[in-house]
């Protein structure tokens, strides 16, 4: 074992010179292979660029708050999508799940006091939104877990069906009084120590599920299934059961997203979520999560969500037409997937 070993040793960098299982070597190798590293670099370059291009205007507290509020819902959705994509799956239906959950809880609210409804109704509405999202996600997960229908098709069907149900329930019009004033003035506009509650909530979700992915059995199984489902099965992991849980988690977070949306905008916006899936998948992939499964992180997704958010605000601040952001994000996305492919191929050769 000489030629091959020295080749892999070179790839592992400093680890090669260290004795086996030195903690430091392990960590440096881990950081080196984290795909977040270069995405973070892009984000920092963007922030630096806008800060210099518009001194004193970009990166004000106001901007940062705005960026964070805009990103909060996408971040929550992106956390769920990270798990899904790491299993080598995809969920196109998230925007529709969000709408369906919003309509279900909105209808309950309308019939229990409308905008003036009390805290008890708010609590029930939140539970309805979370339950509808989770149930829809679990159903899609169960279909994916059969292994007979690709996730792309299951969730494409789910996208149409969930939106259709929401439209049937409402006649296609956003109903008035879908959100309680209590919900809007607390979660929607309220702040904790100057930080909007929406941001606090999104940050809490991110931290919790970031830790779940990186440090628990649930996270490990998610990676293993995306890496080699047959190996996972042979290791005694209930692959189907785990997939149901992962898609249910995605649904749960889409339900939470609907609560955040209602509290922030007060309306169900039935027609307003058709591109949520593309935005969120873009963010997750920008963050270095591999569409081929087995690799990714919540931290990367955080960065991936903030790149478009920073671009939008930054381009407005420096007075460039903000539609350029779509061009820029599109280009970065294609580049990110290209790099992912190259890494994969070089690993397979190596």
């Amino acid at each position: 074992m000489t030629a091959q070993d020295s080749a892999t040793g070179a790839a592992a960098g400093p680890a090669a010179q260290m004795p086996p299982r030195a903690g430091l070597a392990g960590w440096s190798a881990r950081i080196a292979r984290m795909s977040e590293t270069w995405t973070l670099a892009i984000l920092l370059v963007l922030v630096a660029f806008f800060s210099i291009a518009a001194p004193g205007k970009f990166f004000t507290t106001y901007d940062i708050t705005q960026i964070a509020v805009n990103a909060a819902i996408y971040l929550v959705l992106g956390v769920g999508m990270t798990f899904v994509i790491i299993t080598a799956g995809i969920d196109l239906s998230i925007g529709s799940i969000l709408v369906l959950a919003a309509v279900a809880s909105g209808e309950y609210n309308i019939h229990h006091g409308g905008a003036a409804s009390g805290w008890g109704t708010v609590a029930v509405c939140v539970l309805i939104a979370l339950a509808v999202g989770t149930a829809w996600g679990a159903l899609q997960g169960a279909l994916v877990a059969t292994g007979k229908i690709p996730a792309l098709i299951v969730t494409l069907g789910g996208l149409g069906a969930a939106l259709g149900l929401a439209e049937i329930a409402t006649g296609g019009q956003d109903p008035a009084g879908a959100a309680s004033d209590h919900l809007q003035s607390s979660l929607g506009y309220g702040k904790l120590l100057g930080v909007p509650w929406l941001v606090v909530l999104a940050a809490a979700v991110t931290v919790v599920f970031g830790l779940v992915l990186a440090g628990t059995r649930f996270g490990n199984y998610t990676f293993a299934i995306g890496s080699n489902p047959a190996a996972a099965r042979r290791a005694g992991i209930g692959v189907g059961r785990h997939l149901v849980k992962v898609y249910a988690l995605m649904g749960l977070l889409a339900g939470l997203g609907s609560v955040m949306w209602l509290s922030s905008y007060g309306t169900t916006s039935i027609a307003g979520h058709s591109t949520d899936n593309l935005k969120v998948i873009t963010a997750v992939v920008l963050g270095g999560t591999s569409l081929f499964g087995g690799r990714g992180s919540v931290l990367g997704t955080v960065i991936g969500v903030f790149i478009p958010a920073v671009l939008t605000t930054g381009l407005i601040v420096i007075g460039v037409q903000q539609y350029w952001q779509d061009v820029a994000v599109g280009a970065v996305l294609v580049a990110a997937v290209y790099i992912d492919q190259m890494r994969r191929q070089s690993r397979e050769r190596g």
Binding site: A16, P20, N220, G294
Partner: protein
């Protein structure tokens, strides 16, 4: 046959749809010995191993561990009886590191989170115990390992669990001369440490070098199970290719035992 076999199968049948792959197979494995399982391509070796490992349910037959009848329906059941299998296609997760692979499905936890420190320590100890010194870091991704190193990780994974029976499906098939020698040495050492080892191989030199017993499958039937010292190279080749050799093998239609 003095000692009780640690693992014994009797009358195993297994079909995939209309195709019967195993016919009335009997198979015994003894502690401290390497049992070679040989047979032509498609004879049913991997299928037999997957039945033992709980991947495929058996259609008929009996399964004994240390003389006690047991039922094995899943990989976890098999692991519970101390049976560990290194599959022909290894079944490692490329995107996970060595420690994660070794503990896959059986992670150590402290509270809610994984106990990485303990797992690292146990993995390192196991690799050391196998005298494995070729991996640089146990936090290396499996995708960065050579074929021999992967095989070593897969074997280490199998012996990590105080297992009693380790089954290796063609562990040397893809290896060069030096790495093959290392893996065979490892196989011998496992048996010398008291484990029951089953080695599947197409290489008769390897089989004669390390095995104590040889079991030959022919078209899904057990042609013969013999002590390695009681059989010649030529006889084994005949058993593999035609199911019989002189008065050994399948003359009267059932698996004759010596």
């Amino acid at each position: 046959m003095t000692a009780t076999p640690i693992l014994e199968l009797r009358g195993i049948d297994k079909s995939f749809g209309p195709v019967q792959v195993l016919h009335d197979v009997a198979f015994s494995v003894y502690p401290g010995e390497v049992t070679a399982l040989v047979g032509d391509n498609g004879a049913g070796k991997s299928t037999l191993v997957k039945c033992i490992g709980g991947i495929h349910p058996i259609d008929a037959g009996e399964y004994f561990i240390e003389g006690e009848p047991v039922h094995v329906h899943s990989p976890r059941d098999a692991a519970g009886y101390g049976v560990e299998i290194v599959y022909q296609d290894l079944a490692l997760c490329d995107n996970l590191d060595i420690v994660q692979n070794m503990f896959l499905g059986r992670e150590r936890k402290s509270g809610l989170v994984l106990d990485e420190a303990t797992m690292e320590e146990m993995a390192a100890k196991t690799l050391d115990g196998l005298s494995v010194r070729t991996v640089q870091s146990i936090r290396q991704l499996v995708s960065s390992l050579s074929g021999g190193q992967r095989q070593t990780v897969a074997i280490a994974k199998a012996v990590l669990w105080n297992s009693k029976i380790v089954i290796l499906d063609e562990p040397t098939a893809a290896l060069g001369v030096a790495q093959t020698a290392q893996v065979l040495e490892l196989v011998r050492r496992l048996a010398d440490n008291g484990l029951a080892v089953v080695l599947i191989s197409h290489n008769m030199n390897d089989v004669f070098a390390v095995s104590d017993r040889i079991a030959a499958l022919y078209l899904g039937r057990m042609a013969a199970q013999l002590k390695t010292s009681d059989i010649t190279h030529a006889q084994i080749v005949e058993l593999i290719t035609s199911g019989r050799s002189g008065d050994l093998g399948l003359q009267n239609g059932n698996g004759a035992k010596a």
